[in-house]
């Protein structure tokens, strides 16, 4: 019995008008030799075309592309290696320059410091000298002032005491006797008045 069915498929709608030998024949359709020759024939044609096109046109392209990529990557790696070496050299140079400039900076700093210290010392010395001089001058002045002071105070004391006596008693007393007393007193109380 031959059944006609319409086979619907997504792509090959119109191809599928098919004649199906019904199930009653049984067994495996694979062992039915009716279409063996046709299958062999079409297998040889399709596989042959596939093999020829693949081997002559497509596979060489793919293989050359792979080779190209390989060589390009190799090249890139080589250039990268080269550039890395260059950059390493540059880095070394840079380090050297940095080191050099650091030591230079140190030297400059050192020199400047030494110079400044020298200047400071010089100025300090001159200042010290000036201060010493002024101090000695002042001391001398003080000394002369001290010396003068007793005489002047004594003189004032004598004059005031003679004036006081004149006002109190009304008679003039001999200056020499007053001065003797004042001298005596001042000598006695010298420590008390001027300090030591």
């Amino acid at each position: 019995m031959i059944k006609k069915i319409f086979f619907q498929s997504i792509f090959f709608n119109f191809f599928f008008l098919r004649e199906v030998f019904a199930a009653e024949s049984g067994g495996m359709p694979q062992l039915n030799p009716e279409f063996w020759v046709s299958q062999i024939f079409w297998l040889i044609i399709t596989f042959g075309i596939l093999y020829i096109v693949l081997s002559k046109f497509i596979l060489p392209k793919i293989s050359s592309n792979l080779e190209l990529r390989k060589s390009q990557i190799q090249e890139n790696i080589e250039t990268a290696e080269k550039q890395r070496e260059i950059s390493e050299v540059k880095l070394k140079e840079y380090d050297e320059i940095i080191l050099k400039s650091k030591s230079e900076a140190k030297n400059i700093f050192k020199n400047a410091r030494e110079k400044i210290i020298k200047d400071i010392n010089l100025k300090k010395e001159t200042l010290d000298k000036q201060i010493d001089e002024e101090i000695s001058n002042a001391e001398e002045e003080i000394k002369t002032l001290k010396k003068d002071a007793t005489d002047k105070i004594n003189k004032i004391a004598i004059e005031t005491s003679s004036d006081l006596l004149k006002k109190l008693i009304g008679t003039e007393i001999n200056n020499s006797s007053i001065s003797a007393i004042v001298d005596d007193l001042s000598k006695k109380n010298k420590d008390k008045y001027y300090g030591s």
């Binding site: 191809f15 199906v20 199930a23 297998l43 596979l59 793919i62």
Partner: protein
């Protein structure tokens, strides 16, 4: 008609009957799917090899990965001497793979589920490998049947066994692929039939089986193509590098 799981393997004529002499070479659904597979391969790999960019796009990556996959397979099993046969093994692998994979689409025909197709491929490989072996080694190729280090008493037996195993190569190679494809597709059809007959109540279990089987069959489709190609490489290795 859906009940018979073998119906899917039926070959039928598309278009008129073509005859050369007594041979019927009509265009059939099997021929259609051979052509579809071949054109799919050529289409994908043509697209994949068109552009020569350093950073490949997806389709180029696909083509190049397949290329290096097959190249590695050949160099691992048959060494560098098998380089001239790369194109053949590549197209063989791709052809079987695409035929298997196209068979996984519902309502399609699986070319490799027919013993005559796989047997033709296997026979061609067998004859080709034998010819290559005799060209490379002359009559020394017969040493393949005489393993070294075998006691002289056992030698007649071993030689007979070796010859039988050598001659059964095309049969084992073709039956392996054919039986795997046919069994898988039959099973899927049977489970699909269960889904329909058990209906909405009980059909879920076979449906889940069907889903799982589909995944398994896709794996098998790849694996069988791989096995077919790698066995070809091994036979080629025997012919190129005589070990015995």
């Amino acid at each position: 008609m859906a009940a018979n799981p073998m119906n899917q393997f039926e070959v039928y004529r598309i278009g008129p009957e073509i005859k050369i002499g007594t041979f019927d070479i009509s265009f059939t659904n099997a021929s259609l799917f051979m052509i579809v597979s071949s054109f799919a391969i050529l289409f994908i790999f043509n697209l994949g090899s068109k552009k020569k960019s350093v950073i490949p796009n997806k389709i180029q990556l696909l083509a190049e990965l397949s290329y290096s996959f097959v190249a590695k397979m050949i160099s691992d099993t048959a060494g560098s001497k098998a380089r001239p046969y790369f194109a053949f093994i590549f197209s063989l692998f791709m052809f079987v793979l695409f035929c298997n994979m196209f068979g996984m689409i519902p309502y399609t025909f699986t070319v490799t589920s027919h013993i005559i197709v796989t047997f033709m491929l296997a026979a061609f490989i067998f004859i080709g490998v034998t010819i290559i072996g005799f060209i490379k080694h002359g009559f020394g190729y017969l040493k393949l049947f005489v393993p070294s280090g075998v006691p002289i008493v056992l030698l007649p037996l071993i030689v007979v066994i070796e010859i039988i195993s050598y001659l059964s190569r095309p049969i084992s190679l073709s039956v392996r692929l054919f039986a795997n494809m046919m069994a898988g597709h039959t099973m899927m059809k049977v489970f699909g039939g269960f889904v329909v007959s058990l209906g909405i109540v009980g059909g879920w279990l076979p449906l889940s089986f069907s889903v799982a089987l589909t995944g398994l069959e896709i794996l098998v489709a790849f694996l069988q193509a791989y096995v077919f190609a790698i066995l070809t490489c091994i036979y080629l290795n025997d012919a190129l590098n005589l070990h015995h």
